[in-house]
């Protein structure tokens, strides 16, 4: 299996890499300010909007973008579609970055971060809390991702005995690597249930909340695999992987059909669909979100369009935006706490979020040149 992958033979320090490092430097300064002066010094968070972009983008959307490794693990190891194996390592690398930064963001946003370990003390755990489930699950999955990605490291540094040990237990790691994201990705939706009327009815579905979160997360997982693979192909002038990616596009069609049936069925049954056409901000955001979900469905329904790399890429990007907007809408736009509170992220909040993207990009660029992550090119 290990000979399927190779290092990319390019220089690590390039102009884009230096630019990303600059953004990372700014992020470091903001982090210092946050820890020295408190959350209020750098964020616009307030008593009505306790969660801002750091939670909603960096954690809730960020881990949604990081579901590629999970989606491929399901296809390759559970559904046994071995042909997708070449895509596994790059997807795992992106997942590893997304999840570790998501966990770190949650820590940065914690008002009392120095007591974060309380989450892991059995006598402090509240098993009724959706947050506890998310916290423990994300932590466990991040560790699993390290183990799933470890073979790339062990191949590079020739540690056959460790590799053997890992291989022996791989099936357990893989099982957990599929179960854990399914658990906490659905729980990210469940978190909204406790907020009741503070979430607009267009996004507050009591019993289906976990299912919506789960389906959109899986769809985002396959989209991010398509997105990354297409970018790497184009960026490093490598052979196209469209023949593999179109199969993923077909899976997305099934997911989206299921999503639309449930989402609109739920809104119709609850009698809240009319709100979508109220012409206000929330109604319009719902329409934009729906359009972004509909675009990939229309593109991917046709086998011909599915075989076009460009069309696949458009569908994937649209679906990623749809999934992100679904989460941003549910947690921020649809949020009406009352009491006249408003929230718009501060420049520093946005800069830190941009900085975290820069860390992921710079890290990805460096590691594909340092470890065997990308699929081996046949004629090389």
């Amino acid at each position: 299996m290990s000979n399927q992958y190779q290092r990319l033979d390019h220089k690590i320090v390039t102009l884009p890499f230096v630019f990303l490092c600059l953004l990372i430097g700014i992020t470091a300064l903001i982090l210092v300010e946050r820890f020295v002066f408190g959350l209020g010094a750098v964020t616009n968070l307030n008593d009505g909007y306790p969660w801002g972009v750091w939670v909603v983008y960096d954690v809730i959307i960020g881990t949604g973008f990081a579901t590629g490794g999970w989606a491929l693990a399901m296809v390759v190891y559970i559904a046994n579609k071995g042909k997708y194996h070449p895509l596994v390592r790059p997807a795992l690398l992106a997942s590893l970055f997304g999840y570790s930064l998501g966990a770190f963001s949650a820590f940065v946003d914690m008002g009392r971060y120095w007591q974060a370990y309380n989450m892991f003390l059995p006598w402090q755990m509240n098993f009724n809390s959706v947050m506890l489930e998310v916290g423990l699950c994300v932590t466990a999955y991040t560790i699993i991702l390290v183990l799933e990605f470890a073979p790339a490291f062990l191949d590079r540094f020739k540690a056959p005995r460790l590799k053997e040990l890992l291989d022996r237990w791989l099936f357990v790691i893989l099982g957990l690597g599929v179960l854990l994201p399914a658990m906490h990705q659905s729980s990210l939706g469940s978190m909204l249930i406790a907020a009741g009327h503070k979430v607009d009815p267009l996004w507050q579905s009591v019993s289906l909340q976990p299912l919506f979160a789960l389906i959109t997360a899986i769809a985002m997982g396959f989209s991010i695999v398509i997105f990354e693979a297409s970018l790497v192909t184009a960026g490093y002038r490598r052979p196209s992987e469209t023949h593999l990616l179109k199969g993923l596009g077909k899976i997305i069609v099934y997911l989206l059909v299921g999503y639309f049936v449930l989402r609109f069925g739920d809104l119709l049954l609850r009698g809240e669909l009319g709100r979508a056409f109220a012409g206000d901000l929330r109604g319009n955001m719902f329409l934009i979100e729906t359009l972004l979900f509909l675009t990939p469905l229309v593109i991917l329904l046709s086998p011909k369009r599915r075989s076009s790399g460009a069309q696949l890429m458009i569908a994937a990007v649209s679906l990623l935006l749809a999934g992100a907007l679904f989460r941003a809408n549910a947690f921020m736009i649809a949020w009406h706490p009352g009491g006249g509170y408003v929230y718009f992220p501060s420049t520093k909040e946005l800069l830190l979020s941009i900085g975290f993207i820069a860390i992921e990009l710079a890290g990805y660029l460096a590691i594909v040149k340092w470890l065997p992550v990308l699929p081996k090119v046949e004629h090389a």
């Binding site: 971060y113 907020a195 009591v206 009491g339």
Partner: protein
Amino acid sequence: MKRRDFLKAAGTGALIATSAGTASARDNLPVSEEAVGMLYDATLCIGCRACVVKCKEINEMPPELVEGAEQWDMAEELSADTLTIIQAYNGATGGNAARLEDGTFSFSKRQCMHCVDAGCVSVCPVKAMKKDPKTGIVSHDPDACIGCRYCVMACPYNVPKYEYDEAFGQIQKCQLCNQKGVERIDQGQITGCTEVCPTGANIFGTRKELLAEAKRRLQLKKGDTYRYQLSSIDSPHTYETQVKADYQQHIFGEKEGGGTQVLVLAGTPITNLGLPELPERSYAANSETVQHTLYGGMIAPAGILAGLIYLARRNTKGGDHDE
């Protein structure tokens, strides 16, 4: 692997999930026999804000600054430094009571409602929010709190507040004057805000007695004479006066969100006084039902994991098999 096997494994997981679910659906939590609370009667409140000042004194909290200066009584919203406030509302529209000629106006007292089935207690991952099994007082333990602010998200009344302007901030909320170092209720005293209320607009007592008193008051008509208790339901001090307004036939907190231990009466619709309309079923009951349906005893996840591990083992043994 065969598609049949995958469906079999997935079906097993789904079966376990549904069977686990039926066992753990949860209703609203019951109110404790000895639950204590307060009854705020907006028809009696004169807006003097003695309660606000007393609360600040007991909790050692600084006055709110407006444009950098200390004002007489400028708290406009609950905050990490203001755990109770008196607000004035236009009784007809619920808006600001600035133009009294537009309609009736009413004061409104806000603080933690000490929900019978408290959302903040349900969502807190580390048991920092606790509900006393006897008194029902919802307390907060800053030594356990990780500052995730999920309690802020889950409170239907926007009560818990985080100190954003401090590097090592904490969550603040009314703990019915029974917090560590104060413990007025444990020592047989009553809350500061009820103790100082000059008109009996806010009185302390057990929830049961307060609810009975609220029901008695709902029978009164505007202009009737009534002997109102001062400070607490069992106080020897009372005063007789005319009923100022017709009571709305609604005791806020009797049923809202599973009930609260702070009850509110008013002469204007209570939803005009900064309180939300809530279903009788608590949000915590919804959230915990969904969560326990999925994770009751971790049976469903364990079943699914077993299926996944089985498939992963089959599919990784002896390399890859393309279909």
